[in-house]
């Protein structure tokens, strides 16, 4: 019997391993195919561009050099002017290279993007600000791409005008173009503000930070005082294989992050489901009241509730006081930041996390419990199943089935859960040594300290990339398999 179990377990483990391996293999294949696709796409579009130029009308040919010419010549004045203004604006920007905070943008930014600054600076001349040069390099590259998009749209627009004229149809006026934006091209209108926000505040900073991982921008190279430069993969090498301090610090933080994510996720998941089942029992009255009690703890901002808990557990707080009054201990225990044993702090955090997390799982499971297909229960009653059997064989498997995606998203969420660690311990108890990695620090809180407090931007960046790889693997693994993704088109 037991050997059968062991065998089963082994087969499950090997199946999981195989699926993870295939996943990485697929990612590798995916990237490979993607690169080939880009290559082919580039080749095709160049060919397409050349043939289109050759076959197009004279007006469109001029549009290749003077943007909007094809439209203006056909009395689409406003549209044509818009294209023309974009071209003039872009060229002025590139050639004039406007200087912001002593650092140029435009074509000089592209040059600086490669060198990251050359002027060492002395009393009379300021040092080149490598950080701003890197940032403006990214910005200028982005602007060039946007210009290319406008350029290609200009040629397309001119070609379309060619075609319509050939067929003897009326060209749309500017007013009609605008009306299009409210109807057939409504998605453009709706998405543009969001995309602008995402490009400026998500994509641009992310690209910038990824690039920093390949430089030596750290505490010894403060921006605007000392130049920094590209160093390739050196930071990665230092963290993974070096015998330096940073690699010694990295592994414990990584392993604690994984331990934390595992226990935090499963303890909340199981306890939350049990609580939901309990509240949902037929005999329990005042269901709404019980739920409200727990929702209340979700509503309280975490900085309030967690700081309250931190003080309750402090050496002079009520918990220690109570334990001393009833005579369990003689002197106060430190549970969190100053705990004598690392594991006291770690276990306390995981327990406190139950306080934070159970209400969420409970709420979610309650919703799901109402949606368990009732015919399953009817069938079970007809077959003579007891309530307990129905619970164990219908309700629980159903919940587990429906919430598996949630389980994995919350695992990923716990890897990056910042508030609970930062507010409860700030990463302490302190581990002696450099880089300030405390023993309850997760990758994300450590990364916060490295960048904000220590100014070790490059190392912080490498850790951020690592965190991203871990969370992305987890998410893609579930997302690809989840019903929501596969049936995404079902509603369309």
């Amino acid at each position: 019997m037991s050997s059968k179990n062991v065998q089963q377990n082994q087969s499950i483990i090997s199946r999981i391993l195989v699926s993870i391996l295939t996943f990485f293999k697929n990612i590798g294949l995916g990237i490979y195919k993607w690169i080939i696709k880009i290559g082919v796409g580039l080749k095709n579009s160049t060919v397409h561009f050349a043939t289109r130029f050759r076959d197009s009308s004279t007006l469109t040919k001029v549009s290749h050099f003077i943007m909007g010419f094809g439209n203006m010549a056909r009395k689409q004045i406003v549209k044509g002017l818009l294209y023309f203004v974009i071209e003039v604006g872009f060229l002025t920007f590139m050639i004039m290279s406007p200087v912001v905070n002593d650092t140029p943008m435009g074509f000089r930014a592209i040059k600086n993007f490669i060198t990251l600054g050359t002027v060492e600076g002395d009393i009379f001349t300021p040092t080149d600000n490598s950080m701003l040069m890197l940032l403006f390099g990214v910005v200028t590259t982005g602007i060039i791409f946007m210009f290319l998009a406008a350029y290609s749209s200009n040629i397309k627009s001119s070609c379309l005008a060619d075609e319509l004229q050939k067929k003897g149809k009326k060209l749309p006026t500017f007013k009609e173009d605008l009306a299009e934006l409210m109807d057939a091209k409504f998605h453009l209108t709706m998405l543009t503000p969001a995309i602008i926000g995402i490009v400026i505040f998500t994509i641009l900073p992310t690209v910038f930070m990824i690039l920093i991982a390949f430089t030596n921008f750290d505490a010894q190279h403060p921006a605007g005082q000392v130049l920094f430069d590209w160093v390739g993969l050196e930071n990665f090498r230092n963290i993974f294989s070096g015998s330096g301090e940073i690699s010694v610090r990295f592994l414990p933080v990584l392993s604690w992050t994984m331990i934390w994510a595992f226990f935090a996720t499963f303890s909340n998941y199981i306890a939350g489901i049990l609580l939901a089942l309990l509240i949902n029992k037929k005999q329990i009255k005042l269901k709404k009241l019980w739920r409200t009690v727990f929702i209340m703890t979700i509503a309280i901002p975490q900085f309030i509730s967690l700081l309250a808990v931190r003080n309750i557990l402090s050496e002079y707080g009520p918990v220690n006081n109570l334990l001393m009054t009833i005579g369990l201990i003689d002197s106060p225990i430190s549970f969190l930041a100053t705990a004598a044993n690392v594991w006291t702090a770690r276990i306390t955090i995981i327990v406190i996390n139950l306080w934070v997390g159970i209400p969420y799982t409970m709420l979610m499971t309650s919703g799901i419990l109402m949606n368990v297909p009732q015919d399953l229960y009817e069938a079970a009653t007809i077959d003579g199943a007891s309530k307990r059997q129905a619970l164990m064989n219908i309700t629980v498997p159903y919940i587990v089935f429906v919430t598996t995606p949630y389980l994995i998203t919350s695992f990923v969420g716990n890897i990056t859960s910042f508030n609970i660690i930062y507010l409860l311990t700030g990463g302490a108890p302190i581990v002696p040594g450099g880089y300030k990695a405390g023993s309850t620090d997760l990758l994300v809180t450590w990364l916060y300290k490295l960048t904000i407090d220590e100014n070790e931007y490059n190392l912080g960046s490498v850790i951020a990339i690592m965190t991203f790889i871990i969370t992305a693997t987890g998410t893609l693994l579930t997302y690809r398999k989840s019903k929501a993704y596969k049936d995404e088109e079902a509603f369309q």
Binding site: L135, G197, G317, P318, F491
Partner: protein, 299 residues
């Protein structure tokens, strides 16, 4: 007949076990409720306690007695007169109002487009949004800080509004799940009547989307009251007049000078912040639960 007689004695013992399990259920729930409510009650008790020490100052943490010996509003008065709390509160309110307007608009528009409109780059956009959402948010905060500095916007509330609302276009998954359920026939029949996509969205979709609008608005309005990482970096630790409540109250306890005697004042601030938010959550409970459940099951 036979079955009935067999069942009768069994049901009696079953009733007994059922009753004991119900009672243990209640006991568990009561104990859990006490544990869950305790920190909240404790904060409230501290906010109202007004014991004074021998110098005549309000004492911070009183350990000798759980229930305050003297009760009053002294902590609140001290909070409003000696700290910048009123400014913090107004700052947060302004930031919350603007970011909730922008975020709700952005989230709903992206969600609707992704759910109901067909265009070429749709699937690509979905995948890119998923991947971008995985980068740890504050990994890019340094970059955001310098981008804002380049346009002279750091250390201002406007910057904070931008940061809170700009990324909200990526958090469209829950709202998309809601729009997915709206039947396409509704939209198609409106199209046949000659409505444009804009009119369909304004006149047909929005009026029936109250639950998801409220959920999105609730989330984006309460966000600024809870976040303190972004606020702290962008506003700067020294500019106390620009702080939001979260940053202000945190620095009050664990700023440069750790002062436990401020704890009761901190508690008073917490009570003022928590009351409106808890009230909003409880009154909109229904929509919140719908949102949470929809989001989780969709995965």
């Amino acid at each position: 007949m036979n079955q009935l007689t067999m069942k009768a004695p069994k049901s009696k013992s079953m009733k007994k076990t059922e009753r004991t399990s119900t009672i243990t259920g209640y006991i568990t729930l009561i104990i859990m409720s006490v544990i869950w409510m305790y920190p909240i009650v404790w904060i409230i008790l501290n906010a109202f306690r007004t014991e004074r020490n021998n110098q005549g100052d309000l004492v911070g943490i009183v350990v000798s007695n759980y229930f305050p010996k003297a009760v009053g509003f002294d902590n609140f008065i001290k909070l409003f007169t000696t700290t910048e709390f009123p400014t913090w509160f107004m700052n947060t309110l302004v930031v919350a109002i603007f970011s909730f307007i922008f975020s709700t608009f952005l989230t709903l528009s992206v969600a609707y487009v992704m759910s109901k409109l067909k265009f070429r780059a749709r699937k690509k956009f979905l995948n890119v949004a998923l991947i971008l959402g995985l980068f740890p948010g504050f990994m890019s905060i340094i970059a955001i800080y310098y981008i804002l500095k380049a346009v002279n916007l750091t250390q201002s509330l406007a910057a904070l509004v931008l940061v809170y609302s700009a990324g909200s276009g990526l958090g469209f998954y829950i709202a998309k799940g809601f729009f997915d359920i709206i039947p396409n026939s509704l939209i198609e029949s409106a199209r046949l009547d000659g409505a444009t996509n804009f009119q369909i969205f304004i006149k047909i979709i929005l009026p029936i989307s109250k639950p998801i609008i409220i959920y999105t608005a609730l989330m984006s309005f309460t966000g600024p009251w809870m976040d303190f990482i972004f606020a702290r970096v962008i506003l700067g630790e020294t500019n106390t007049h620009l702080h939001t409540v979260a940053v202000g109250l945190y620095t009050m306890l664990y700023g440069q000078f750790v002062d436990v005697n401020k704890f009761t004042m901190f508690a008073a601030g917490c009570v003022i912040v928590a009351i409106p938010i808890v009230a909003m959550f409880l009154s909109m409970q229904k929509y919140y639960i719908e949102g949470v459940t929809a989001g989780s099951v969709k995965g």
